[in-house]
């Protein structure tokens, strides 16, 4: 109900400033249908999420499963996630502002700090490095420790805990400083996903290196013979992003076409060599864990890992097809973009086949639905990306809002949903506390409805925008026909933001607690000692 009210308010607020576009879509029927769908979604989330079968499959109470866990480690992981959640709320608030600004361009135009050109990169940088980066790395630490079979009463040595905390502090300082500098006019202009000026990126780079050393040491100390595939992805992602950041901020190739060669490389490697391998690596652990069965094919995972390196590294220039960048590089990037089908479907297929026959388990879990959406979105968004890279498709779709739709499809429906699936699935096992199930259901349905509205409106609108350009219509014509889709994008954004509030509350309820930790710190022998 609260959610519906928020949406209704959001829709009517938009309506005030945009009578034209809403006339096309029909505000009243649209809003009514939307609120109906949401009410149904909330009810369904309640039904699916509720009930007695929501505990972990093995059937032990969660606080017993978490008994014996090192409380300092639980606090470390929880700190990463809470920082990530803070950045998610702030970053998506900036995102909403960007969306509203395109509906009402006069909104908050009186200061240069909140002008569109600065708020937009603030949004992308915060949600990329603040939210997705910290959430995936935080869960990554837990997954590496678990898959290395380290003793959970002390998975990290004392100085390693310190290094983890230091990395988090540096990372947060980098993002906070970067955003403040960005809003005050220190913009690394023209360079997407590295809009922070270099002083803000230095602490983040140091944090990445610290974390890479930490993860490497955990893997080296493992109590099993083999390194599980999740560890491959997580360790490599930290090494790769270090290279990507150095390449993005090196002072040698900063002008002319050379600058754009590096830019194309950077844009797609920052995303594909960091967020994708982290999200996929986590899922290789979370999915079999929650289903209590092995992954469908370990070999497919290894195939996916190595083809990911070979194909993904090269595809960046597809952001600059038909430009002054050397033709051979453009063509190579398109060919490798299509080849991305191999690593993507090696992992997507692997996950889907692992889920085969587990419909009941999925229906009774509050974390698995996130993973189902994330896995499907990974496969579909990547296919969409391969198609978008084709030169004749680029003629219509490139530079339009279609790209924005695709970027959100990938970073939200794929990466963020998998991050949430991992958090809801694993964090209770670490802290001994479960979130309110109904709230998680509301989070899921709001986020799903929001991202679907977002992606559909941007992709359909973007296609029309591009078609208008090809048909030679006036540029203003293409701006006008985009306006109803921009309103619907903002509606989707409001739903997504509302879901993030649910996530924040759920995360708070999963924080390491006094009881479970006191209970856990003593190990199994501490049973009955209570909170003393």
């Amino acid at each position: 109900m609260i959610a519906s009210t928020v949406i209704a308010l959001g829709v009517s607020a938009l309506g005030v400033n945009a009578p034209g576009p809403l006339a096309i879509f029909g505000l009243a029927p649209g809003a009514t249908v939307l609120i109906g769908v949401l009410a149904f979604a909330c009810w369904l989330g309640w039904r699916l999420g509720g009930g007695a079968n929501t505990k972990i499959p093995v059937g032990i109470p969660i606080f017993v499963a978490a008994a014996g866990n090192d409380p300092r480690f639980a606090k470390l992981v929880s700190r990463y996630l809470m920082s990530a959640c803070f950045w998610l709320l702030l970053g998506s608030a900036f995102g909403l502002l960007v969306a509203f600004k395109l509906v009402d361009p006069e909104l908050l135009t009186d200061s240069s700090a909140l002008t569109f050109g600065r708020v937009r990169p603030a949004h992308t940088m915060i949600v990329l490095f603040g939210w997705a980066g910290l959430a995936l790395v935080g869960m990554g630490l837990y997954v590496v420790a678990k898959s290395a079979w380290l003793p959970m009463h002390q998975p990290l040595q004392r100085w390693e805990l310190g290094a983890g905390n230091l990395a988090l502090a540096l990372w947060n300082a980098g993002v906070a400083g970067g955003v403040l500098l960005l809003l005050s006019g220190h913009v690394n202009a023209g360079r997407e996903y590295r809009m922070f000026v270099w002083p803000a990126m230095v602490p983040i780079a140091i944090a990445v290196l610290l974390l890479a050393v930490l993860v490497y040491r955990l893997l080296a100390r493992r109590q099993v013979k083999g390194v599980y595939i999740s560890g491959w992805f997580i360790l490599s992602a930290l090494v790769w992003i270090a290279v990507v950041v150095v390449m993005g901020y090196q002072p040698r190739w900063t002008s002319g076409v050379a600058d754009r060669v590096i830019d194309g490389y950077y844009i797609h490697n920052a995303v594909g060599m960091f967020f994708t391998p982290l999200a996929v690596g986590l899922t290789y652990y979370v999915l079999p864990k929650l289903l209590n069965k092995p992954i469908y094919s370990y070999a497919l995972g290894v195939l996916g890992f190595f083809t990911h390196i070979v194909f993904y590294t090269v595809i960046g220039t597809h952001h600059y097809v038909h430009t002054a960048i050397p033709q051979w590089l453009e063509t190579t990037s398109v060919v490798f973009s299509v080849a991305m089908i191999v690593p993507v479907w090696a992992s997507t297929g692997n996950f889907l086949l692992t889920m085969k026959g587990e419909r009941l388990a999925i229906a009774h879990s509050y974390s698995l639905p996130f993973i189902v959406v994330g896995v499907i979105a990974y496969g579909v968004a990547s296919l969409q990306g391969s198609a978008e890279s084709l030169p004749w498709v680029q003629e219509t779709l490139h530079l339009t809002h279609y790209t924005v739709g695709h970027a959100h499809f990938a970073m939200y429906a794929f990466v963020s949903f998998l991050a949430w699936g991992a958090i809801y699935g694993l964090l209770p096992r670490l802290t001994g506390r479960e979130p309110p199930v109904a709230l998680v259901g509301v989070h899921f349905w709001l986020a799903l409805a929001g991202i679907l509205i977002y992606v559909l409106s941007m992709c359909i609108g973007g296609e029309q925008q591009g078609a208008a350009w090809v048909q030679g219509k006036s540029f203003m014509e293409s701006v006008r026909l985009m306006s109803p889709y921009l309103v619907w994008r903002a509606v989707g954004g409001v739903l997504m933001f509302a879901s993030h509030i649910c996530f924040a509350v759920a995360l708070w309820r999963m924080r390491p607690g006094a009881f479970s930790m006191a209970f856990g710190h003593q190990g199994a022998s501490g049973l009955g000692q209570g909170e003393a």
Binding site: K101, L102, P105, D110, S111, S112, T115, G117, R118, P121, G185, A189, G190, R191, M195, L219, V227, G231, W232, S236, V239, V243, T254, S255, G256, V257, A258, D259, V261, I262, D263, Y265, I267, M273, F305, F306, I309, V310, T313, V314, G316, T317, Y320, V321, H322, T323, A324, I325, P326, L329, E395, L399, H401, V404, W469, V470, G472, F475, M476, V479
Partner: protein, 206 residues
């Protein structure tokens, strides 16, 4: 014992890192260095301090979030006319120029503002397309006064109604709605430089 990568954390660190570095050299370092060498041969850009200042304002406000500076062409249809290589423009971009932007267009430009999003029109030839200083000031001050359905934010903070005491490099701009009498409008030095930069974009260089 036969070597097994699955059991060696060292190899799991080194092999993917090594493969990645090799590919980065092939797909980023080598082409970037080739382009850098070519750029070094190109004649230096003519000096124009006011345009450079305007370019800095353009970057600080990140106008490139919505405006590209690239006219896309199809290399496969390139023609040789009178010893000059012409790349035909894609249908979607024909409104902006009759020739695609070549590498010379971006020489010595740091960063090259090619752009990846075209929420507003391409700016490659905006100075030739819209040559009036007044129009640009009106447009920056109140985009919807001159282009009713525009979604561009207003840049009123670049303008003042009254000249400050130590005013230097300000420029008076006639109000679009106050041609006779009415309050005056002054462009700040930043706005003056920004418009100078916009007017300097005279079209495709190859």
């Amino acid at each position: 014992m036969a070597f097994n990568i699955h059991q060696s954390h060292k190899m799991i660190l080194l092999l993917p890192a090594g493969m990645y570095l090799l590919l980065v050299i092939l797909c980023a370092v080598v082409p970037a260095e080739i382009e850098r060498q070519r750029e070094a041969q190109a004649p230096p850009a003519p000096e124009h301090p006011l345009v450079e200042k305007g370019r800095a304002v353009f970057r600080q406000l990140n106008c490139g979030a919505c405006h590209t500076q690239q006219v896309r062409g199809d290399e496969h249809l390139a023609l040789e006319i009178d010893g000059r290589r012409i790349v035909p423009v894609l249908a979607a971009d024909r409104r902006f120029a009759s020739e695609a932007t070549g590498s010379a267009h971006y020489d010595h430009e740091d960063p090259a503002m090619m752009g990846t999003q075209r929420t507003g029109p391409d700016l490659t030839g905006v100075g030739a397309r819209l040559p009036g200083t007044a129009w640009h000031h009106w447009h920056l001050h109140d985009p919807r006064a001159v282009s009713p359905d525009s979604v561009m934010p207003a840049y009123r903070f670049l303008y003042v109604d009254e000249l400050p005491a130590d005013a230097k490099d300000y420029e008076e701009v006639g109000r679009i709605d106050g041609l006779t009498g009415g309050p005056k409008l002054y462009a700040t030095p930043k706005a003056v430089a920004l418009v100078e930069y916009l007017l300097s974009m005279q079209g495709v260089k190859r």
